[in-house]
Symmetry: C2
Subunit: 230 residues, 2 copies
């Protein structure tokens, strides 16, 4: 048994993404769910970070993960084994998730929806930044081996996100990665962004990030449950 559904989703350029993102927000509000859009380059550590997060939060919230991949189910198996309700979305040639695909992912969880749903977007530092999926929080990961100059070259992703993890921070000396230079580049684009250096492998820095994440989840759920009961 696989333990999760696999849904084929495809980009539909005729769709109005902003309208669909509004539908996602309405549904999250109505059902009291917090959605987090997790974006990064291939291999930056999205799945490893998610496993740490699931382990830390699973006693407190019911947790769902939408795994968006062009193909393959390897990450879905990994997060399902950590105890998250998991949906695998296959995007085919589409290089990003859009709001309509996100609606289909929400449908696949069944009722009631998990309290917190993480959308692990397609590994891509470009296109996912352009598509609003209706999430409460946009979280990105930059990994140290990618280099501290990446905010200069892929500015949109760093501009739209609420929080950035600098993962694989344990390898900073090997890659001559300058964290303060990186932070400077990012804050020039996005002064309000939260930045946490972490290592999903060693666990370094994860506690501080998870405290911040819990604050955000708590605030989003409280607000939604307040508004939807009025």
């Amino acid at each position: 048994m696989r333990g999760f559904d696999v849904i084929e989703v495809r980009a539909d350029l005729e769709e109005n993404n902003d309208r669909n993102a509004a539908l996602v927000r309405e549904r999250l509000l109505r059902e009291g769910v917090c959605l987090i859009n997790l974006m990064a380059s291939p291999g930056a550590g999205k799945t490893s970070v998610l496993c740490r997060v699931i382990d830390a939060l699973k006693g407190k919230y019911s947790i769902g993960v939408m795994e968006a991949d062009m193909d393959a189910d390897v990450d879905a198996h990994t997060v399902a084994a950590h105890g998250a309700a998991t949906v695998q979305l296959h995007t085919g040639t589409s290089c990003h998730m859009d709001a309509k695909m996100t609606l289909r992912g929400l449908d696949a969880f069944g009722r009631p929806l998990p309290d917190v749903i993480f959308l692990e977007n397609v590994g891509n530092l470009v296109c996912p930044a352009e598509f609003d999926v209706g999430a409460d929080w946009k979280l990105m990961i930059l990994s140290v081996p990618e280099g501290d100059d990446k905010p200069l070259k892929y500015p949109l992703m760093f501009t739209v996100c609420d929080c950035m993890l600098v993962n694989k921070i344990d390898t900073a000396p090997i890659f001559d990665f300058d964290l303060s230079r990186c932070e400077q580049h990012v804050r020039a684009l996005n002064p309000k962004i939260d930045i946490f250096p972490v290592s999903a492998k060693t666990g370094e820095g994860m506690d501080a990030f998870i405290r911040r994440l819990e604050e955000r989840i708590g605030a989003a759920l409280q607000k939604k449950r307040g508004e939807s009961s009025q």
Copy 2:
């Protein structure tokens, strides 16, 4: 003085990319030029590899580089300093180079064109694989920190390329990267692909790759110069 031109290029979805790719091929044939499309995730080491290649080949061929970036000119400065004729293409929100943008890049070099032109595509393991730019050789880089499972998750890129470099191979023990497992995944998609483990940082493996590259360049130029003189 910057030492290179900056051209604003944008994706035009009305264009017929295959027709434009044929125009690129005609022009490369007519002018006896070899074009290499270099693709990889952000931070995999495209520019570092290119600098090694320019240093090795610059006595033998005139070399051009088209740097495709959403924004910024950092890599163009780097390759221009190594002695390549350089053109910076800004793709804005476009996540890939297409054939029409490539034609504009060729125009920007002036006459005669360099013998060998490297197109350093936008850092993205997804979209550039879908767009034929008319190149003689498709070269990709996977870097060790991205993980040996990436061929499973981004299969199109590994399927369409003629050659793959596994860069940052000096860090394989740190990232538990299994080269033979990676090769097995890639060859299941693309049995004919050339694979070279290298480190652009230490130089390890670069000689073998550059020998292969020179064979390919030599064959492409000989063929074109033969055909165009008939």
